[in-house]
């Protein structure tokens, strides 16, 4: 029997890589020398994309990717500003903005035939072909680990929580989730129906004011304050802002009441008429490939929107994955077209309750 030494294995690996490299380069030679500009998120997710995903893609395709950090509405603004002469080819935005971008003609449908990785995408994260999710967070309660969280959102309206809650600011998308919770509690209907009855639920919203210590707009800061014991519970926030602290041992974690939880979907869209669309599509496909999705999810504690990724049990504690687990947790995605059309008026009402 031939025993393979470490040195022999190394030589074989190098040899295989050397043989394979020309194949990779020749397969992707159409992209050589091309460049695209993409709009990504800031923070740890953006850092991972810049440091890990982009360099590997540039190497494989012999191209250049210029990444500019931003956030959803800023990225939408960039697409608007360059609509007549697009500079960006791919944009990372949240699902909330996809209907607006589609309506304004800022984005193009994804060419399915050129994106083999779409085959594994869960249909609910495909947005009718106008983009794809990249990372899914779960929105729920976050609380100090010494506090026993209620199993129903309804309990948070009780007098025992006076001054002990942190409520998400109307500036942040999860504030819409809170309004849906209030409407669901008032009407007794599930989130899917309650979201259309928010207008009639502001008296329920006002009833929680005495329990609210402040309205936070910085999730990580609020999570830290809860960890310090400044407040008992925060509602509602995305898991990607809380679990990184939980994983580091901070006394803060999340809980998901029986009424259900919400999905926070970070997405990618293809900019309409953006430069080098072929390279843009290849990059978007790369973002959905299993190896990238696994690493991205483990880094940011978000669930992948594609099937077939294996995670350790330790990581799975923080993810709502696979799709059956999302369903088990009642992960709900609102009707953003309806929400967007009403959000300004709802924000004004929220301000009228909490800001005066």
């Amino acid at each position: 029997m031939t025993v393979m030494t470490r040195r022999t294995f190394g030589k074989l690996t190098l040899g295989a890589a050397g043989l394979a490299a020309p194949l990779v380069y020749s397969r992707n030679s159409w992209a050589a020398g091309k460049q695209i500009q993409i709009g990504i998120w800031g923070g740890s997710q953006g850092e991972f994309v810049k440091k890990r995903i982009i360099p590997a893609f540039e190497k494989d395709f012999d191209c250049r990717i210029v990444a500019e950090e931003g956030f959803t509405l800023a990225n939408v603004g960039k697409m608007r500003a360059t609509k007549d002469n697009p500079k960006f080819s791919v944009m990372f935005i949240d699902d909330v903005a996809i209907p607006i971008c589609k309506q304004e003609g800022l984005i193009a449908e994804l060419p399915k035939s050129d994106m083999p990785a779409l085959a594994n995408l869960y249909p609910r994260f495909g947005f009718d072909g106008w983009g794809s999710a990249l990372a899914i967070s779960v929105a729920g309660l976050f609380h100090n680990t010494e506090v026993t969280p209620p199993d129903s959102y309804a309990a948070l309206w009780g007098p025992e929580y006076a001054g002990k809650l942190k409520l998400v600011s109307p500036k942040n998308t999860p504030s819409v989730f809170f309004l849906i919770v209030a409407a669901a509690l008032k009407t007794g209907k599930p989130f899917a129906e309650a979201q259309y009855q928010i207008d009639g639920a502001f008296d329920k919203v006002a009833e929680i004011k005495a329990n609210v210590q402040n309205l936070f707009d910085n999730g990580p800061q609020a999570a830290n304050e809860v960890a310090q014991g400044q407040a008992d519970i925060g509602l509602l926030e995305l898991s990607k802002y809380v679990y990184p602290y939980t994983a580091k041992g901070a006394p803060v974690t999340m809980s998901f009441p029986k009424e259900g939880s919400f999905a926070g979907n970070n997405c990618q869209v293809l900019v309409k008429n953006g430069p080098n669309q072929d390279l843009a599509v290849a990059f978007m496909n790369r973002m959905l490939e299993p190896a990238v999705q696994k690493a991205f999810s483990e880094y940011a504690f978000t669930a992948p929107p594609v099937s077939g990724i294996e995670f350790s049990n330790e990581t799975l504690k923080y993810l709502a994955y696979p799709v059956e687990e999302m369903d088990k947790r009642g992960l709900f995605t609102p009707d953003w077209e309806f929400i967007n059309a009403n959000r300004s008026a709802w924000t004004e009402k929220m301000n009228g309750i909490f800001a005066v």
Partner: protein
């Protein structure tokens, strides 16, 4: 020796009505030099201040559809909404209240410090100046977070009050008080420095004469230092009022969104609701309010100063 006109008649020629003559008159009058000197500043302000403000006012007269899409054409609907909704009026009043209180409290704290700088010895003046200016080296965000750790439920203030026997000390964080305290601290240097400069220009012998004539320190301050330092106070109040009214970071961090000022609403409209036209309308209201308040205040101060100065003669 030939006269000047013999060397160059143009130098002494009588001006006529031609453009060249007017230009010459401007040069000889020194006005052109003045225009040339201020031209870069005027140009800079026109490009980087006036033009953006005009663009903002124009934007405030446009609209967007309910789903966030911009609509072409002009409308007054943003201003109708702004003036017909109680919420915005109440936040405008809060903005004015915070700015006025910050200016008043700032002036109260600033006078002793300014007098120490202007009338104290060189060492005292240096120490006080450095103490006042040093916080400006720290970013306002950091300073606000610093106040947060002092004012929160388990912060330094609560600890201090508990140690002196207050069983349940008030929690100031996330109240209007927290915003006010931090605004006074953040903007105090802008009040102290103009006041110190104004007090430094008051002739010390005037105060000495008053003291020799039997005036108490208080009446000396009220009847000499206060009136003669009004120009400095006017500059300080204008700066502090304007900066407090436009404050965004401090109310955001310390007010906990329970005490937003107009700046918070502007950010909310633009970054969250994507309603740039309405955000521009609130911005226009803020600028107009600050401008009008400053103009009225400066007019009152100038009139009072002229009367007191006249009386002094």
């Amino acid at each position: 020796m030939p006269g000047l006109e013999a060397v160059n008649p143009a130098l002494t020629a009588a001006p006529d009505d031609t453009g060249m003559a007017r230009l010459w008159a401007a040069i000889t009058g020194g006005r052109l030099t003045g225009y040339l000197l201020v031209a870069p500043t005027v140009l800079f302000l026109a490009v980087w201040f006036l033009w953006p403000v005009l663009s903002m006012v124009t934007l405030s007269l446009t609209s967007r559809s309910v789903d966030g899409v911009m609509v072409e054409g002009f409308t007054l609907e943003n201003y109708v909404r702004l003036f017909s909704t109680d919420l915005y009026f109440r936040i405008l009043i809060r903005t004015i209240r915070i700015a006025v209180l910050t200016s008043l409290i700032g002036a109260l704290f600033a006078y002793p410090l300014a007098i120490a700088i202007a009338r104290g010895g060189p060492t005292m003046a240096r120490v006080v100046t450095i103490t006042i200016i040093a916080p400006l080296l720290v970013n306002v965000v950091v300073r606000s977070y610093g106040w947060q750790t002092i004012l929160n439920k388990t912060g330094a203030l609560a600890y201090l009050l508990k140690s002196v026997g207050v069983a349940s000390p008030p929690v100031l964080l996330y109240t209007e008080w927290a915003v006010l305290i931090a605004c006074v601290h953040v903007y105090l240097p802008f009040m102290v420095m103009p006041l110190a400069s104004a007090i430094g220009r008051i002739d010390g012998s005037v105060e000495e004469a008053a003291r020799v004539a039997g005036a108490s320190r208080l009446s000396c301050f009220l009847r000499i230092v206060l009136p003669l330092s009004l120009p400095g106070l006017a500059v300080g109040v204008s700066l502090v009022f304007s900066l407090s009214a436009a404050a965004y970071v401090t109310p955001q961090i310390l007010g906990g969104n329970f005490s937003p000022l107009l700046g918070t609403l502007i950010e909310q409209q633009i970054l969250t609701l994507n309603d740039w036209p309405f955000g521009a309308a609130i911005s226009t209201l803020l600028i107009a309010m600050v401008l009008i308040t400053n103009l009225v205040f400066l007019k009152i101060v100038n009139r009072r100063f002229a009367r007191w100065a006249g009386g002094a003669r």
